[in-house]
C-alpha cells in the first residue's frame, strides 16, 4: 500500500489523522529515533520529520529556536534520513514524511535525495517554500510524492488547480502567518477547511497554530486530520525526559480526536 492509499484508507475508516511535527536533531540528533517511537506510541498516524534550516521564513519563534538548537547540535539532512531509515526498519506501519525548506534539499541534490529517501521509506515530501509550479526542481526517479499547501487567502480557482495537481493529502495552513501556537484560532478556520476539502477533493490536514486538545472538537470535523508542531517543540524544550514528554504531550490529542461527536 502506498502512502496515498494509506491516507485514503484511514480517512475512509472515519479516523482523524494525528500528525506531529518533529524537528530532526532537536534537542540533539541522538534523540531523533527514540522521539519518533514516542510519537508513534502516543498515537501518531504518521510523523513529519522537519529538516532544520538557517532561514526558516515560514516559522515562528519556537520552531526557529528549535531549528537553531538542532543545527548547533550537528543536525543534518543526512542524519535525519538515517534516523528515519532506522525507525522505518523497526516500525514500518508508522510512515515518516520529510518537511523542509528548498535549499538543504537542493544542496543534497534531487537524485541523491530521492535515492536516500526511498531507501529510508520516506512517505512524502513537504516543502513550504516550493510552489507546485516549481516541483520540477526536486524531480528525480523514486522521489516521494510532494504535498501541496493552501492558505486562507488561496483563491477558489487555485484550490481547484491544487486539487488537480494532487498529492497524498493537502496541507491547509490554518492562519495567515507563521507557525506557532495560538491561544485561539479564528472562527473562520472550519469554513476554510471545509471549502478546501470541497474544492480540492483531497484529504485535508490542518496545521499552524494548533496547540491544545481543546481545539480539536472545533477543527477535526471540518478536515481529515491535524498537524501539531510548535506546541510539541515547546513541550520538549527543557524536558528532563524528552521521550516521555513527547508521548505525554500527544496522548490527549489522540483521545480528543478519537472521541465521537
Amino acid at each position: 500500500m502506498n502512502f496515498t492509499e494509506f491516507i485514503a484508507q484511514r480517512v475512509a475508516s472515519g479516523r482523524k489523522l494525528l500528525v506531529p511535527y518533529l524537528c530532526a536533531g532537536y534537542p540533539t540528533p541522538d534523540h531523533t529515533v527514540s522521539l519518533l517511537h514516542a510519537l508513534a506510541d502516543g498515537g501518531a498516524d504518521f510523523i513529519e520529520l522537519g529538516i532544520p534550516f538557517s532561514d526558516p521564513l515560514a516559522d515562528g519563534p519556537v520552531l526557529q529556536a528549535a531549528s537553531l538548537v538542532a543545527l548547533r547540535a550537528g543536525s543534518t539532512l543526512e542524519k535525519a534520513l538515517e534516523a528515519a531509515a532506522t525507525f522505518h526498519a523497526q516500525r514500518p506501519e508508522v510512515p515518516v514524511a520529510l518537511m523542509g525548506y528548498t535549499n538543504p534539499f537542493l544542496a543534497m541534490g534531487a537524485e541523491p535525495l530521492a535515492r536516500k529517501a526511498e531507501a529510508a521509506g520516506i512517505a512524502a515530501l513537504l516543502v513550504p517554500d516550493l510552489l507546485p509550479e516549481l516541483w520540477d526542481h526536486l524531480a528525480a526517479p523514486g522521489m516521494p510524492p510532494l504535498v501541496p499547501f493552501a492558505a486562507p487567502n488561496t483563491p477558489e480557482a487555485r484550490l481547484k488547480e491544487l486539487g488537480s495537481i494532487g498529492g497524498p493529502f493537502l496541507y491547509a495552513v490554518a492562519v495567515l502567518g507563521v507557525t506557532g501556537a495560538r491561544e485561539n484560532l479564528s472562527d473562520s478556520v472550519p469554513a476554510f477547511l471545509a471549502r478546501t476539502k470541497a474544492k480540492t477533493g483531497l484529504p485535508v490536514l490542518a496545521g499552524f497554530g494548533i496547540s491544545r486538545p481543546e481545539q480539536v472538537p472545533d477543527l477535526a470535523p471540518a478536515c481529515d486530520g491535524l498537524i501539531i508542531g510548535s506546541a510539541l517543540a515547546k513541550a520538549l524544550d527543557g524536558a528532563a525526559d524528552p521521550v516521555q514528554a513527547a508521548k505525554d504531550f500527544l496522548i490527549p490529542f489522540r483521545v480528543a480526536m478519537d472521541k465521537k461527536p
Binding site: D55, L57, Q64, N103, L106, A107, D129, L130, T154
Partner: protein
Amino acid sequence: MTRPLTQPDDRGFFGAFGGRFVPETLKPALDELSVAYAVAKDDPSFQAEFAEALATYSCHPTPLYHAERLSEHVGVPVYLKREDLNHLGAHKVNNALGQIILARRMGKKRIIAETGAGQHGVATAAVAARFGLECMVHMGEEDIRRQKLNVRRMELMGATVKPALSGSRTLKDATNEAIRDWVANVETTFYLIGSVVGPHPYPSMVRDFQSCIGREALAQMQERTGGLPTYGVACVGGGSNAMGLFHPLSAHPEIELIGIEAAGEGVDTERHAATLTKGFPGVLHGAMSYLLQDAEGQVTEAHSISAGLDYPGIGPEHAHFHTTGRARYESATDAEAINAFETLSCLEGIIPAFESSHALAWVLRNAGKLKGPVLLCLSGRGDKDMEEYLLHKEGK
C-alpha cells in the same frame, strides 16, 4: 547594433535564476503585484508620476561628472554617475519612490521594508512620510546598535523600527522577519524590497525603477563624448545600483560590465561577502541565485566593512549575467575599499560611500591597464561611513 534586454520568463526566471520560492500564502500577493506592476509599467500616468518624483523629490537626472584628477591618476577618462547626490544620499530612493507610488495605486495602507545599515530603511521611511502611509522597518538588533543615527532618522520621519532578534540579527534576518510580517498581514501590507532580490516580480521591478541610472548615463556619455564607455563598473551587494546601470548598458555588446563584490578580509578567509566568487546556486528569500552557504545548504554569514554589501545572496539577474558571461564579477577587500575612499576624497573632494568605494577600488587596481573610458556608478555618499572609517584608522 544593440541587443535586446533580458526579461524574466513566465515563471520569473532569468535562465536558471530567480522564480518564486515562497509559501502558498504569498502567491496571491505576488500575482496581484505582478498584475499591478504590468499595468503601471505601460501606463503613461504612472510613468509620469514616477518621473516627476525622481526629478523633484530627488534630483534626476543626476549629473555625470568627469573626474579629471582621478582620470589622470588611472590613465583613462573616468566618469562618475553621481547617484550620491540623490535625496538622502544614495540611489536607494529611486526604487523606494517607484514602489510606493505603485503601493498607493494598489490601495495598500501599510508599508514594510527590511534594512541592513539603514539606507533603504531611511529611503522607505522618507517616501512613506511623503505619501502619508504607515511604515514599519525591520532591522537586525545588531545593526540597530551599530546604526543608531539611521534608526533615529527613520523614527523622526514617522516609521517604526522593529528589531529582528533571530539568527545573526543583521540584514538576512531582517529580511526573514519582513517576509514573516508580510505573510501575516498580506492583505493590507505592501513589502517594499530594497534590492534586485526576492521573489518575482521584485528583481525585474526594482531593476526597472533603478534603470534611470543607466539610461541617463548612456545619454550623458553620448552627449559628452560622442561615444560609449569601454567599461561600466558598479559595486554589488544585492545588486540594485549595478543592475540599474548594467541593464540599459547591456544592449551594447561592446561595453564591458564589471560588478565588484565585497571581499571583506579576503576571499580566502571566512569573512567576506563575495557571493558569485565563492558561493554556489541555492534558494534564499524567495529566489534561486548564488548564495554563500555550507555543503549542507545552510546559509552562512557575510562580512564586509560596507554594511550595504554585507549580504550572503545576490540578485538573480546578476547570477544570470555571471553565468552567460554578459557581466564579469570581481571583488575588492575592505582595505582596498578604504584606500579608494581616501583616494577619491583627496583627488576629487568627493567622499564616496564604502559600497561605491569597492567599485572605485577596481579602477585603481587596474590603473595603467585600462583600455578606454570608465563609467562608474557612484551609488552613495560617504558621510554615513565617517565613524566607521575613523574606527578603522584608530584600529591600525
